[in-house]
Amino acid sequence: MSLSNLIQNWDSFRKRRPYEDQYKDAPYKWAMVIDLDSCIGCNACTVACYAENNLAVVGKERFGKGQAMHWIRIERYWGEGEALETEFPERGAQYLPMLCQQCEAAPCEPVCPVGATHHSPDGLNTQVYNRCVGSRYCSANCPYKVRYFNWWNYPERAWPNPLELQLNPDVTVRSKGVMEKCTFCMQRLRAGQDKAKTAGRLLADGEVLTACAQACPTSAITFGNLADKNSKVARMWKNQQVDLAKNAQDKSEEGVRGYRILEDLNTYPSIVYLERLRNFAA
């Protein structure tokens, strides 16, 4: 049976991704655009993520050891080089919301020994908690370092009664020894997709948002379905000349400011960042 499966579908098994029009016939391919000119670094997304995804508060000592569990973090840079160019950060700070980039060719995926992390048909890099054995190879190979390991049995201390009543029943509370990461609020996508399917339609643009995108006061995060050519996200990608299947983007149009982080590592991320703008005349 499996052998015949192998022979019949040989071509699809030998296909390397991403390729042009990979999601042409797929109903969904989730993607994001983060406008760094709109991001004000307020941390609303971070807290929203804690609330939505049952992220553990680890406390000062463990945070200090580098064992924090923030799936989305606001990075604040002062400069692009290796040293501050000016005495003061004259052009403000550089805020960067960093979350799992949901890479199409995710470096974390092929290295997992048990296949606990893999690519879903709708283009998400998913983590199966109960399959994870905790080898942490995915984290070692993630260039963005956005995978978070349960170094401790966080549920023991993170939600003293009655804080546990806040936990989102749609999201697993992870126990010690498993890797976790941003899921693009898969539970919301799942519920939305199911609802749409029952109604015999596809999800409309903006019908389901990730918690971070929903909270973001400046709407710097745009989330949507890249497979839908008319979705805002797809139009933004196109407008910014970013192609999912390319690792070096066409930047021919003037003023295009879309880019993907560490694209030269051939990770093909699903998140496009828009360059931060500064009025240098000011």
Partner: protein
Amino acid sequence: MSKKAVTLALYADPDEAGNALRELRDCSVPGFKMDDVIIKSPIDHPELTELLNHRPVYIQLFTLLGVLLGPTTGLVLIASAQASFIYQTRGGRPIVPFPPDMVLTYELFILSGVLMTVISTFVAMKLPGNRSPLYNASVSEDKIGILVKAEAQNIPHIDEILRRHNPTEIKGDHSR
């Protein structure tokens, strides 16, 4: 067939043992064949084994079988497993990727080769098995034993040949 009996001669010097074997080979005891001679020695003595009739070793055939079948079966199993595990899309790699599968096939090639070799060796060596009653512990120390199986009535004749080459000891089990 008349009753078979066994006799064991122990030699301290491989040269003497060799001479004894040569004489056995050339002797004309009725019903006695070189196939009935078994050498027991603490180390391998190819120069003595040569004196026996050619005793072929078939192990490598099995090894060949192992290295042919093992990796092929392995590769097919791995590829079918990959094809059946529907969520195998990982890191943009093909679902059935060649380099990793080759690595694994290579390891299976060696593993099956080794295992087949070992299994066939034990079969060929008839191990595990029981030692013959005439086993003498000194063949694992420094003596070379020549064990001859022959018709009971020929045993004295053979013993005599063996005795001619300064054995340290001759033991016989004439009961059989």
